[in-house]
């Protein structure tokens, strides 16, 4: 599903965010990406949906060479993915319902399909009563759940979530994780960058740890902190 080979990312201002990453994630896997702040988690995820391009190395997602993709093909890559952005990135001029509808319109869903799928997604994250609210009228946690709903709404084969529970209370966080787990069980590959040690420890999934752009740990059924042995 995902293959990174010797990937380096250097931002315009000279910051090296990733240093020779080699990594594969298979179809149907569920993996956490952890690491201290600024270690390169978001950068790694951004590579997958081509928000950043590697300065060196190859990135293959779903069999496609993302690093050398033509700009015109990028939208079609993104439509197959579900992405929860760390800063939500909800459309400020659209209310919750329209935000989700837009994501579905983009992939050409029919109006009836759109209504049904938005209804389902909002019910899943518990925001049905907020569907008329604009992003600035929602609390931080509500915005975060809205972002998650948008990522789920198009049944992605790969779900990428960057810090999806940073603004949620532990109970809601756990519910969201169960939701991601369900989606994973139904066949989607799920990648979650997080700082929430309780959740990582409780979920017992693959853990990929970054530090200053280096991959320093990759273990199945891992925990948030490396268990000293």
């Amino acid at each position: 599903m995902i293959h990174l080979t010797d990937v380096f990312v250097e931002y315009d201002n000279g910051v090296r965010a990733l240093n020779g990453l080699n990594l594969s994630v298979d179809k149907g896997e569920f993996a956490f990406v952890v690491g201290s702040t600024g270690s390169g988690k978001s950068t790694f995820l951004r590579l997958l949906y081509r928000e950043v391009a590697p300065s060196e190395g190859s990135v293959v997602v779903n069999g496609e060479d993302v690093a050398n993709m033509k700009p015109a093909d990028v939208p079609y890559l993104r439509r197959k993915l579900g992405i929860v952005f760390q800063d939500f990135k909800l459309l400020p001029q659209k209310n919750l319902w329209e935000n989700l509808a837009f994501a579905l319109r983009v992939i050409g869903a029919s109006p009836r399909d759109i209504r049904r799928r938005i209804g389902d997604a909002l019910a899943l994250v518990g925001l049905t009563h907020r569907c008329d609210s604009f992003p600035h009228q929602m609390s931080g946690g509500e915005q975060q759940r809205a972002a998650i709903a948008r990522a789920l709404v198009n049944n992605p084969t790969l779900l990428i979530a960057d810090e999806p529970t940073g603004n949620l209370d532990p109970d809601t966080s756990w519910e969201i994780m169960q939701l991601l787990d369900q989606i994973n069980i139904r066949g989607a590959t799920v990648l979650v960058a997080t700082h929430d040690s309780q959740i990582v420890d409780r979920m017992k999934k693959r853990v990929i740890q970054l530090d200053s752009g280096y991959l320093i740990r990759d273990e199945n059924k891992g925990t948030y902190q490396q268990i000293e042995s």
């Binding site: 952005f85 983009v106 992939i107």
Partner: protein, 291 residues
């Protein structure tokens, strides 16, 4: 892109306009004012042109009698000319009438110290077939009492030369204003898009193609252009009425009013407005779609 998505994109454009009241107002009023100024200039230019054109028809064959010839003799000559083939009409213009008329259109003639009416009686001859003008003029020239015959050639040439200059200057003016208006309007559109750059980036991140982002914004530009054009047309109408009322006293202004129907003006403005709006949006979006 199927029908329902075209539908959606147009809908998108309209909610966009509704939710950005300030932006819409600023863009539309900028377009309206730019097109208003442009339209004013076009009207004045067309009016001047029309005035020139109207002058052309005035000259067919002008027959100036000798100074000695009096009005009755002139009338006799006119009757004779009127019976010639190819002549549509032959009207006597008395020297007094002509002089009065001349003084009216050339007020400064009086300050030149003229002590008497220097004009002769004359006959205004219109022919049925313009190609016969020269041969007719030559025939009339041989008649008794006729001093000079002008077959309109020279006047036509003079008027045409002036018309060409007026046309050239006003065409240049219209082009300069059109370029200016296009630039100002596309600037306004650029700024509204700049205000929404975040929004555009987000759309691209959820998988929208460039066209999916572009179409609603172009539709928006088209709507702004059309509304702005209609507003400009209303401004021109109102302004025209007002100007007509206040400047009515000036005789030479009446000759300048053009005869293009207001529906043509409206149509022209709307086409220009839509074209500028669409092109302005299209060009401006590019820089925001690059990444």
């Amino acid at each position: 892109m199927n029908l329902s998505s075209v539908d959606f994109l147009i809908q998108e454009a309209f909610t966009g306009i509704k939710r950005n009241g300030l932006m819409a107002f600023a863009s539309i009023s900028t377009i309206a004012l730019s097109l208003g100024i442009l339209g004013t200039f076009v009207l004045v230019a067309l009016g001047a042109n029309h005035f020139m054109a109207s002058q052309i028809g005035k000259f067919e064959i002008a027959v100036y009698m000798n100074e000695k010839i009096d009005l009755t003799q002139t009338q006799a000559a006119a009757d004779k000319i009127g019976k010639m083939p190819n002549v549509a009409s032959a009207v006597v213009l008395s020297k007094e009438e002509e002089w009065a008329q001349f003084k009216r259109t050339n007020p400064n003639i009086e300050s030149a110290g003229l002590q008497h009416n220097p004009l002769p009686h004359s006959i205004d001859v219109r022919v049925t077939d313009a190609s016969q003008t020269t041969s007719m003029a030559n025939k009339i020239r041989l008649m008794d009492g006729v001093n000079t015959v002008r077959d309109g050639r020279e006047e036509l040439r003079r008027v045409m030369a002036l018309a060409r200059v007026v046309r050239g200057v006003s065409a240049a003016g219209v082009i300069v204003l059109l370029v200016t208006a296009t630039f100002i309007i596309s600037n306004a559109i650029k700024l509204t898009l700049y205000a929404r750059r975040r929004e555009i980036r987000i759309m691209k991140l959820v998988g929208a193609t460039n066209w999916f982002v572009r179409v609603p914004l172009i539709v928006e530009g088209v709507v702004f252009g059309a509304i702005g054009a209609i507003a400009a047309w209303l401004l021109l109408k109102l302004g025209g009425v007002y100007v007509a009322q206040t400047v009515e006293k000036l005789p030479f202004m009446a000759q300048f009013s053009s005869d293009i129907p207001s529906s043509v003006l409206a149509l022209g403005l709307i086409i220009v407005g839509i074209a500028i709006g669409a092109a302005g949006s299209f060009v401006s979006i590019r820089r925001f779609l690059r990444d």
